[in-house]
Symmetry: C2
Subunit: 196 residues, 2 copies
DNA sequence: GACTCCCTACCTACTAGTAGGAAGAATGCG
DNA sequence: CGCATTCTTCCTACTAGTAGGTAGGGAGTC
């Protein structure tokens, strides 16, 4: 399957943003790595800001349906959360940071339209996590010692933080390590923890 | 106390890097926000890369002594860790991301000299945390269910991740929320968790 | 006299973005 | 069908502005 030029550009742009950041990627980079001229990139996406905004909103749309698919595929909270965490690992193994984590770092240098979208993306994560945790608690699979919203925040923080630490150290283990430790703590079934 | 020009420049540069990122801050920005001309900034720091490298290595030196001071001031692991976490909150309340977290996001766009320093900084964090946790476990204050190094990674991940989530959402609570939840889990004394 | 600090003026390379045209595919119509 | 028109995609060539960085000079200080 061969991607259309437009989709190929979006894909390359996503990679560049998730490795270099929004400010540090240029239309010249994007053009070169897509085998096209700079002016042609502008034909598809007149402004850099438009490109990024579209990219993120499409990403959010995809992500939303991926989360829905996870909920459909797994009925247990634990399995759902592991599948969710796997998304972070997948990105990492493709050499990329979490999109919105990367954008969050440059927040002050971002155009206003992007900031709001990044914020919305984190809310999406937190709401989905809270939902899954709520159902998990109701089903007796997860403990409810610290409150649903705090658990959601805890899970997201470990994955974002783990990704950044792993990214800096160029190691894969930190990405999921903290998440798994937290998940084991939250689980009522408390199976023995696997030491690495 | 009035800072020398050189120190003022370093301080402003740190702020700019911890809000906009390395790529998105320019000598023009730095000059303007320091009330000096661009060429004068170059007089003090000929290359941007030099400035950043010096800044980070000085930051690491300061941080090292701060960590040593924390160890001296508190004998209990829990108190030490809370003081450590407070450093992240202090930065956040001054409107800044963790320095090395921010740099980590742009890793691919960073000069080689900086990448290594960023990596060393994370190692510093992890080694100090592992040390504190080890002593805490030996003193019976902390549980040792998942291994010293994993606990260090867990604590660092929650703080880095919490900072980024809080930064994107422009809220302070996420910064320490996950860290405190994890710390409560690790504590053998298990005092009741304060709900927010 | 040498050094420090800061300046104006400048350089080259690169940034996002534009103008206008060539080639080809899609479309409308007699 | 043939033929012209329009639309899409991409191009070369350009703009103005900004990036990091340099040359060289003036004023104060050791």
């Amino acid at each position: 399957m061969t991607l259309g030029t437009r989709d190929a550009l979006l894909q390359r742009a996503e990679y560049l943003i998730r490795t270099r950041g929004y400010s540090a990627f240029s239309y010249a980079d994007l053009a070169e790595s897509s085998g096209i001229r700079k002016a042609s990139v502008h034909h598809h996406f007149p402004k850099k800001e438009d490109l990024a905004a579209l990219l993120v909103s499409r990403y959010i749309a995809n992500f939303t349906s991926t989360l829905a698919a996870i909920k459909r595929a797994d009925t247990q909270a634990q399995a759902r959360l592991i599948a969710y965490a796997q998304l972070f690992l997948d990105g990492f193994e493709n050499g990329m940071l979490p999109l919105c984590g990367a954008l969050s770092a440059e927040r002050s240098a971002l155009p206003e339209s992007l900031r709001a979208t990044v914020c919305a993306f984190f809310d999406l994560h937190l709401n989905w996590l809270a939902d899954v945790v709520r159902e998990g608690v109701a089903a007796g699979e997860l403990t409810d010692a610290i409150g649903i919203d705090r658990v959601a925040l805890l899970l997201l923080s470990t994955l974002e933080g783990g990704s950044f630490v792993g990214w800096a150290l160029q190691k894969t283990d930190p990405v999921l390590s903290a998440f798994h430790d937290v998940l084991a703590t939250l689980s009522t079934s408390r199976q023995e923890l696997a030491r690495p």
